[in-house]
Symmetry: C2
Amino acid sequence: MTQGRRGPTIVVSNRGPVTFSRDEEGERGHSRGAGGLVTALNAVLRRSEGAVWIASAQSEEDAAVAREPAPYEVEDLRVRLVEHDGAAYDLMYNTLANPLLWFVQHGLYDLPRSPRLGDDTREAWEKGYVPVNRNFARAVAETVGDASSSTILLHDYQLYMTPLFLREELGDRAEGAFISLFVHIPWPEPDLWGILPNYVRRGVLESLLSADVVAFHTRGYARNFMETAARVLGAEADVEGGTVRYAGREVWVRAYPISIDPDEFGQLAGSEAVLEQERFVKDLPGRLLLRVDRTDLSKNVVRGFEAYGRMLERHPEMAGGVTFLAQLQPSRGDIPEYAAYMEAVGRTAEEVNARHGTDSWRPIELFMQDNFPRSVAAYKNYDVLLVNAVRDGMNLVAKEAAVVNERNGVLVLSEYAGAHEELGEHALTVNPYDLDEQADALHAALTMPEDERRRRAEALRETVLGNTIDDWVEAQVRDIEAHRGHRG
Amino acid sequence: MTQGRRGPTIVVSNRGPVTFSRDEEGERGHSRGAGGLVTALNAVLRRSEGAVWIASAQSEEDAAVAREPAPYEVEDLRVRLVEHDGAAYDLMYNTLANPLLWFVQHGLYDLPRSPRLGDDTREAWEKGYVPVNRNFARAVAETVGDASSSTILLHDYQLYMTPLFLREELGDRAEGAFISLFVHIPWPEPDLWGILPNYVRRGVLESLLSADVVAFHTRGYARNFMETAARVLGAEADVEGGTVRYAGREVWVRAYPISIDPDEFGQLAGSEAVLEQERFVKDLPGRLLLRVDRTDLSKNVVRGFEAYGRMLERHPEMAGGVTFLAQLQPSRGDIPEYAAYMEAVGRTAEEVNARHGTDSWRPIELFMQDNFPRSVAAYKNYDVLLVNAVRDGMNLVAKEAAVVNERNGVLVLSEYAGAHEELGEHALTVNPYDLDEQADALHAALTMPEDERRRRAEALRETVLGNTIDDWVEAQVRDIEAHRGHRG
């Protein structure tokens, strides 16, 4: 990602690092995005002077920026926004990427009944996903200009078709380019991938295999991807070696477990907003059991509350001695399945509270609103953190919380969270489908002797500090260099 | 399975070949079971003089037989019935095997919401599945007697723990015994298997790997099994070679695609009962589109009706020119999910009929009752057979129908049916989740030129006749001999 004689480094993701707006006086302003991916890609850009970040225009003012000469310089960033046709973007985003790809890759479908695919799927593909990806490819090719060598880092499941279109758009210039696509969500096993219609199933794989590197958060996802490519396309996969041969090309398939910026969280932990929220958090009665999640079907909130209820049932001596704080950030509430699930979340919390609560003690404190400072305040103070997702690409909450926690908090971790490959040995592992196992794990965590808590918490913290977001970038940079060397 | 100096051949399955009853005069009578597995195991017994079939006592009179000296001779069979504690059998059957193992292995759970495993699962395992399997193992060991060499063929997902217990019960005699377990339902990929609690997940695999051969209907299931064993137990799997090494033993993992007895179906096709039903079938207006299934969630009946509705929508010229006969044999109606699904089946059929039907034409003729002669009559006369299961161990309907059909009927076949490995190339393949693909395939099948119909139908018939139930037995016998030779 150094410049030198090389062409530019280009980072592409659907959501960009900034959103532009126009204030009442007609002045252009902007706000920086938050979230794990933006943090991660900012870390990439820190390594790459003159890099350009390409993303979809989201706001009206974004669209205005998209029409101006690119890249647009804002703060320390060089940004190029891509304006899509509104209907095409909607089909890509709301029919193809979420829910279809998201549901398939997280195993969220009730398969005897859903999905019900058909011509509307094909339309969303042909008139939404494909043209949006074509737009990205064109924007990248324009940004490359006549440079004979460039580094193009594509991100996530909205952009699966971009590698293929990019090779077409680049023509001869493709030869010197390095193209990777990073998948930030789980890659499912071949039979699950097979839910998709054939044109998506094969189309996505053929496009991904026209990149130089396809990257995932875990070795498990990388293996699933290679097996899927072998099964669906007949590609030649060397699962141990991490390579797939297809259509005369060799593609590297790699796991780079994404991480966090510990300094960022260290600073946040000391911020005024967090300190203020800590007063609330510390006032909660008893030990603090915490979960922090987006309100996604994959996060398994209902079973988590039910498991907690079973734990209280069996251990009446815990009454009043623990509070379960659930900080849920609303997400995708416009999807009916999500709305129904969130109702179930609220209902289940009420049931547990009605059954076990007293005048002075509410067993579950449920907040379905965005309050990041309170989450960080809770990170510092939890005794037990529950992450019981049915599937989760990585789960950065587990890593964020481990580095700022001050109470030797115990992590109860689903074996289906990506983070389990790194953190599992220091956590209490649970099967997300087993309520009693989760109940037992919660009790074990809440009553664990202090020395074991300390030993585990230190090991978690060291594991996270041993692979920060900078290490994540560094590992990819090394492989980019190695790949260029390999090609000669 | 020859006797010679060898000990006996013993076939074990939960359901036996006969059920006993007592008539009004107090005389013992019996009825022979039907269904693909009984036919198949009868074929095994034809090969093995003096073989004994061990099964669970199902009726009161069965229990009486179980208490008498075994084996009990009935017709040409030697039967030993095993009496289980009623509560244990119920836990094994109605909590552990169906639904849990059935749902996991067919991918039928709505994973964000179900299953909700816990102590009741453990109880069903410890107080149901384990003791029932222990009973089977004891009955086999008693039947083996002091023979130093015997051939023990265990069948299906109710008996997963029997191989392990059998080795314990046999003690030294286990060394000369040959033990196989045949799984007649799909084996899922490792992440799906992982839904199960750890004691089931590992327990079943450890038991299966104490057999000499673990057998499946398809190479795909065999591969999934080997990958599951590698992932869960760390067993050493040679997927290409079909062997797994675990705990110092080498286990062969093999695919023997089950089949049918073509003579049996030839005779049935000419029987009085079938000829009578043929009058009804031939009177249905237009071309005949057929499906024959148990009413199982995995069979995908609703999407099949919806696809047919879409086909009629797009091709109004088909009105009155086709009837969809759906023969559904009731099954597991006491499970709430099944009852709800069957309501949806009826409702969907009504909707299609209301929308497209006329006074003289009902687009769907739906029968939810057992009428095997009518199914065979329809086998002879269909123009198109739809098998669109979301998962199906084999699907023998596709094979039965192919050998007796007299109209060069076209098979529309789900790529997730086990039969697809053998029959897929001569069928129209469909993705069971894609309604429009199924609609298009139905239309293509109904309007296919006669010469292509003939070519495909002949190839289907030849494929089935090239691997009959006798070939299925023969392939296993060869491997038993080879395995004995291999051990020396």
